[in-house]
Symmetry: C2
Subunit: 148 residues, 2 copies
DNA sequence: TGGACTTGTGCAAGTAGCTTGCGTATAGTT
DNA sequence: AACTATACGCAAGCTACTTGCACAAGTCCA
């Protein structure tokens, strides 16, 4: 008795679009709302959980205290632009030889890694020379979850 | 009117001991309790906040949804053992050339990074096989860490 | 077609890990 | 000793999930 989950279907469709590289639950819900669906946060959560369990999507820990999800593909790392908040995938091969070097260096058997590079993306760096961009949603802007 | 904060003082003292590389607020509170102090969680939080504001300690986002703090020193990355949960610092120079490679590769101007390698530390790997690798500087020995 | 069964969804409450506001205690200063 | 700024405890609040429960709806089988 396999029932299709409308929410999960739409979530997957949204995540497969190349508009963005990875999503928070909030962003997914916003996108779903824009599509006329307005599911409960718990439904979005459960849909993503299901997709994660089935291996279709994976959770990316970006260290900002929120859950980020992306469609499962070959392992890669992430570039996060401090200016526009955009995130880009980074071919993992660029750090592929790290494991063996670490092993030799410290005896640590590396089985996985998570690398997040922050800085300014090519676009923003280019724009910075032309004109400043006011009102950009910076990743830091979100950080004030409770102020502090 | 500068009053010393007993909690902040003890927190800093705890964090300066090489017993462990980085602490959560919980762990700090436990250690403080072991020292006879039993401060409120909010006091620990405020003490750490103060130390962070003054640049004495830094927050390390490990992607587990909790705040980890370590004494501020030269930037480095982290090795986390999946078996014993121990964490070790990893000389950052090992990924130092990454920025320039990424720049060439994608035009991204890297200003910072956060790398967490997970796997099995030398000690745990040794215990698992009974035949540890001799002559290798063990991660524990090198980093002067003990383990939790 | 209809009843049983299974699964998806919404709603609300619960949880973890902070974070903040407020009142009181207390160390420094005058 | 009085005054005042700061540390601290307590409790409540916040974010971002996470879970439990009830109901609705889809699927299966007779």
């Amino acid at each position: 008795m396999v029932r299709r989950s409308l929410v999960a279907e739409q979530v997957l469709e949204i995540m497969c679009r190349p508009v963005r590289h990875c999503w928070t639950l909030d962003e997914l819900q916003d996108d779903l709302a824009r599509r006329g669906l307005a599911p409960n946060p718990s439904s979005v959560f459960r849909a993503v959980c299901g997709l994660e369990r089935s291996g279709t999507v994976v959770r990316v820990p970006l260290g900002d205290g929120r859950g980020h999800y992306e469609v499962a593909s070959e392992h890669h790392d992430h570039l996060v632009c401090d200016t526009c908040g955009r995130m880009e995938p980074l071919a993992c091969s660029i750090v592929a030889d790290l494991a063996s070097r670490v092993r030799v260096w410290s005896g640590f058997l590396v089985s996985g890694h998570q690398l997040v590079l922050s800085g300014t993306c090519g676009t923003c760096a280019g724009e910075a020379h032309v004109a400043p961009q006011p009102g950009r949603p910076s990743s830091a802007a979100r950080a004030g979850k409770n102020g502090s």
